[in-house]
């Protein structure tokens, strides 16, 4: 009996990243813009999607994949708007992974415009898992505090866009929008920053215009 050293040098997330790349290439070939939404629980991901559906859906189609540890509640809220939604119950896992998205793939309509993936509410674990999205959004709601970008850097450094949500509450809270923006841009200078209130509708048209422009850009790139 003897021991043998085997050099492997492979990424622990290699299998996830491979599936994610396949998903991304299929979805972009179909002209679907896919957005992975990250945030703490209760930052308003589902409410933002409900608000965006109001401004996107007259002209565009959308569908939503909901990730939660338990319950069908978020998917029910989205379906109540007449939007196709799939609920993934992770049964304890604190994030979605590409394999879970891949399993749903056959059910996703090929003629869709926007596919939103609402990740499990958590600023830590979801940041490490590529789901095959074209864009990653991170939501930071004003009640959470403006100090979150540097406390949870990975969620902010891996995102393309930060939505500061619930800005209608900002006047009542010790939340400095400029401070949050500055702190996020210090760790990710390429981050786009939007402010929204799903309740008043503030900032929703600007965010949907951004999404529509990104959809057109994706389709031009694949024309």
């Amino acid at each position: 009996m003897k021991t043998k050293q085997v050099m492997v040098l492979k990424d622990l997330l290699g299998s996830n990243n491979k599936i994610a790349d396949e998903i991304r290439s299929k979805l972009t070939d179909q002209g679907i813009l896919t957005i992975n939404l990250l945030s703490s629980p209760g930052a308003g991901k589902t409410t933002l999607l409900e608000a965006l559906s109001g401004s996107l859906r007259p002209k565009f189609s959308m569908a939503v994949i909901e990730g939660d540890i338990e319950t069908e509640r978020d998917a029910d809220r989205i379906r109540a708007k007449g939007i196709p939604a799939w609920q993934i119950q992770t049964g304890g896992a604190c994030h979605l992974d590409a394999r879970m998205i891949g399993r749903l793939f056959p059910e996703i309509p090929a003629d869709l415009d926007f596919l939103f993936i609402e990740n499990v509410g958590n600023l830590v674990c979801p940041a490490g898992f590529d789901l095959g999205e074209s864009l990653r959004f991170v939501l930071l709601s004003t009640p959470e505090g403006d100090d979150k970008p540097k406390k949870y850097p990975k969620a902010f450094t891996t995102s393309d866009l930060m939505v500061i949500s619930k800005v209608d509450l900002a006047p009542m809270l010790p939340f400095d929008i400029e401070q949050a923006r500055r702190e996020a841009l210090e760790i990710n200078p390429r981050l786009q920053v939007f402010t929204t209130s799903a309740r008043t509708g503030d900032g929703i048209p600007a965010l949907s215009d951004y999404l529509i422009a990104e959809l057109e850009r994706l389709r031009r790139g694949h024309a």
């Binding site: 003897k2 021991t3 050099m7 492979k10 990424d11 997330l13 994030h95 992974d97 490490g128 898992f129």
Partner: protein, 115 residues
């Protein structure tokens, strides 16, 4: 606790060398974990010890090498290594830094017992 899913991936990856070398068991597993990888070495070890029971790695030791951040400034090319998050270039003050190391989660090598 996404460390559990990382370790679950690791065990999938360990099947190939065991099969290829026709190994009796795994005695040592070495990982490179970047300080910005978002995985906690202590939790990886705990998860490894939970998973390894009733596998060829049941008695294996998990060795973790932590990899510091290494960044390069996209504006002036200055490079810096550190064990904490680096957001500004020491040389020109730019915040446009490229991360060259410190985010990796790599299975470096496996030590196997063979006949």
């Amino acid at each position: 606790m996404h460390e559990l899913s990382l370790i679950s991936n690791l065990f999938d990856m360990l099947e190939e060398p065991v099969r290829e070398k026709n190994a009796r068991r795994i005695t040592r597993v070495k990982l490179q974990v970047g300080l910005l990888a978002g995985a906690v070495p202590e939790l990886l070890k705990t998860a490894f010890d939970v998973y390894k029971k009733d596998t060829p790695a049941a008695d294996a030791v998990l060795e973790i090498v932590e990899v510091p951040f290494h960044v390069r400034c996209r504006r002036c090319g200055f490079e810096k290594t550190g064990d904490d998050y680096i957001v500004l270039c020491d040389s020109c003050g730019s915040n446009d830094l490229e991360i060259l190391a410190g985010t990796e989660l790599i299975l470096e090598k496996v030590e196997l017992e063979v006949d």
